[in-house]
Subunit: 404 residues, 2 copies
Amino acid sequence: MSRVERLPNGLVLALEERDYPGVAFQLLVPAGAVNEPEGLLGASTLIEGWLWKGAGELDARGLAQALDSLGVRRQSGAGLEYTLFAAAFLPEVLEEVFRLYALLLLNPRLPEEGFEAVRSVALQALLSQEDQPARKLFSELRKRVFLSPHGRDPLGEEESLKRATPEAVREDYRRRYTPKGAILAVAGGISWERLLGAVEPLLAWEGEEAFYPTPLLSEPHSFTLKRPTAQVQIGLAYSDVGPEDPRFYAARLALEVLSGGMSSRLFTEVREKRGLVYAVSAFPAGVKGQGLLMAYGGTTKERARETLRVMLAEMERLAEGVTEEELSRAKVGLKTALVMADESIRSRAGSMARDLYMLGRIRPLSEIEGAIEATDLRAVNAFLRAHPYRNPWVGLLGEVDDVS
Amino acid sequence: MSRVERLPNGLVLALEERDYPGVAFQLLVPAGAVNEPEGLLGASTLIEGWLWKGAGELDARGLAQALDSLGVRRQSGAGLEYTLFAAAFLPEVLEEVFRLYALLLLNPRLPEEGFEAVRSVALQALLSQEDQPARKLFSELRKRVFLSPHGRDPLGEEESLKRATPEAVREDYRRRYTPKGAILAVAGGISWERLLGAVEPLLAWEGEEAFYPTPLLSEPHSFTLKRPTAQVQIGLAYSDVGPEDPRFYAARLALEVLSGGMSSRLFTEVREKRGLVYAVSAFPAGVKGQGLLMAYGGTTKERARETLRVMLAEMERLAEGVTEEELSRAKVGLKTALVMADESIRSRAGSMARDLYMLGRIRPLSEIEGAIEATDLRAVNAFLRAHPYRNPWVGLLGEVDDVS
């Protein structure tokens, strides 16, 4: 079981104790592309890169060396809805790790002379997306799906990145790096008391309540990006229910029937029977307050039309319902995946943080298992009838003159 | 501790018992690109895809449904040196899982009518590589580095895939899907006795000793692939020592200094100080009997020359040795990574199988930790002096007229 408390400064702290020789955390800071100022798109990415240029008594090299000396395996990056700092390490260094992360978050130097390298890395990341056709397509698809800032790409935009000044980014850091809306989820072999002591330096963190816009969808439509790629990339988006909806598990099980294993409908119809693609899949891609299901396929120019047709048909066919056998396979598949993911403290810290962000609470494994078990064929098929997967946003990228 | 036995038919079976509610295995079948017949490149990929088209009493759909009903999370694919079948599931279905995998391996239907879809998927995979510049570059780099078949791409070649006949692929399956050279590594909450009972159906598997060619390197040289990509991709390859070499841990620690964390030399010099790239890394890329170190960077056309220069300089500078501080950080980093990876039974089954393939035995965690600890500064720097990272194979992909 996990314990959750909101600390006096607003930071939400959660721990799941595990008898295991390691500790993992995920820290979500409420600074993402969705709440960037208009005109400063990509600021979250710039801030995250800039933070590592030194904090408190440590310069960039000192900070990196200090964490590497403690054996902290870490990742961080700005995303659509928040900036994520993830770390895993051995329990004996817990206090020193949080002292350093508190320095990073509360007392970064944000030095003038490091800014150009940060900007340059951000521009490189944006440029590298141009060589990744599937990623490029889904970035554009999200832009089309949302009227609200939820369609933004966390990498930012070239013009905006080029125009950003150190002053504006510093100011944005001060506003959006706030504990009110931040979440720290920890899993591993330490006690609640020890954790509370270790995060003490984070209590000095102060700030306003985080701001989040309301998601707003556009009218579904189609678009094409003409590119001289070898394959044609196909992306679909459908409005869906999110984890806060009582029908969530019905939707999740239907997705498993659609794309959960080698016997799933998309894999069978698109790849196994027809050999249309190497990769095809459907996956949840929603934001807080707005569920979204997306589907992907990549194929030749000649087979793009047929691939699109089969994908659309399989999505639509869900409204006719799934079979008892399909549902039973979907339940076994989801439950096994749950058990396997739960094995890892890093993955557990991740799902704890995600639950706290999306739902404001952590679902115990037993609750999820119970809810999957309790969702019967009637419930799934009633949901699918009432919520048909029709009328999607459709995006194509490639040499696509002949598809429409 | 793990237990290893060679079964009467030649299959090497290993188990590491864990008190954990799940089981994972990796099965290595000695059919990879390296031992494909000359005019049948890509055959390993075709076989692996074709196997799933039905086995014993089950057709393709029946086979996929049977495994999905048991909740088996699985992956499989043909690689350079072997074909890998990986699976994770709950212990209660152990016997049935191995019964199904034995069907797949020993009694596949390899039906004529499924062959064209398999070929088509393989061609799609090859085509999709054309849209992935970094992958394309490293595929070409390996082709250049090896004179032996170790330079082949497991995806095969277009002409060869198009010409392959069902008969030739069936014949190749019979020859190369052999237990003599196959490895089955299992980790999880089951006993040795139970495992032995469960794998019984695999005992009927028979075949000749697997064939592996000896790796042979070319003379280091440079090449460019001109492509209209947004970024220029840079790939380097250096001959290195493998895990069978007594100097392996010295080399591994040097690699950690070079590219192990945010304070590593490549990250600091190429990305943090100069902002030349978004991603830069060095990684082991050897085969059995031939160690290899590769390095990657992606940057703009304008900064490609400088990026290449800095990468080469950092590699060469290793010969001057690393510092006591760098080594100590590298040791902590490697040891923490070991503990974290050991947490997962899937990752443990993977390293067991890899050890058995590369070394013929499984290194206990304590042995690796001990060897890392025992490798002192003298040993690392003596290795680096005697084995300088100079004179690499250099590959560039992009609009690279101005680099040389």
